[in-house]
Symmetry: C2
Subunit: 102 residues, 2 copies
């Protein structure tokens, strides 16, 4: 009962897993998430730090927000983004460390 359908996966699981990894498959999104390991950042701070356009950052944050990989809080006109998924971000962190030390 723990692992239904050993030889193939149902469509919902497949979609969820592929979407999760797709989020982590783009260099820009990886850089953003890696930056957020440290602390929360505003959209403009991310753009400055990583030398990206504001709209690029905003588009990617929307992507990550939709997948609930980041959350945000508002302070005046500034919006601060931070992490929001233990499992996925552990996976990313481990894989980055694995790559750094390979």
């Amino acid at each position: 009962m723990d692992e239904p359908n050993k030889t193939d996966l149902d469509e919902e699981t497949l979609f969820l897993v592929s979407q999760t990894f797709k989020a982590l498959s783009d260099p820009t999104r990886i850089r953003i998430l890696n930056l957020l390991f440290e602390r929360e950042y505003s959209v403009n701070q991310i753009a400055e730090q990583l030398h990206l356009r504001q709209s690029t950052v905003s588009h990617q944050l929307r992507f990550l927000k939709n997948l609930r990989l980041v959350k945000f809080r508002r302070e005046g006109t500034t919006i601060y983004y931070s992490h929001d998924d233990e499992h996925v971000l552990n996976v990313l962190h481990e894989t980055i460390q694995h790559a750094l030390h390979q």
Copy 2:
């Protein structure tokens, strides 16, 4: 000395990490790798089991082979594929389990 450059990643690491996750971001590749958790399979066996064209499977296996996520052995004209990367495949397995039990 363990984590150089806290706020941004070097290009090589970024490429390796993004490629790794790209491999896991396609439903067909996930299905193939998930199948190979069980045991080794030939190209045609994979195609039959997952209802995919032989050429589709072959193309995707080449992709996975280039990233050293699968290895193969020949037996006559048949080529059997199996897993070849502990870390990445653990990551995949964990994430599938996480999705299945969410």
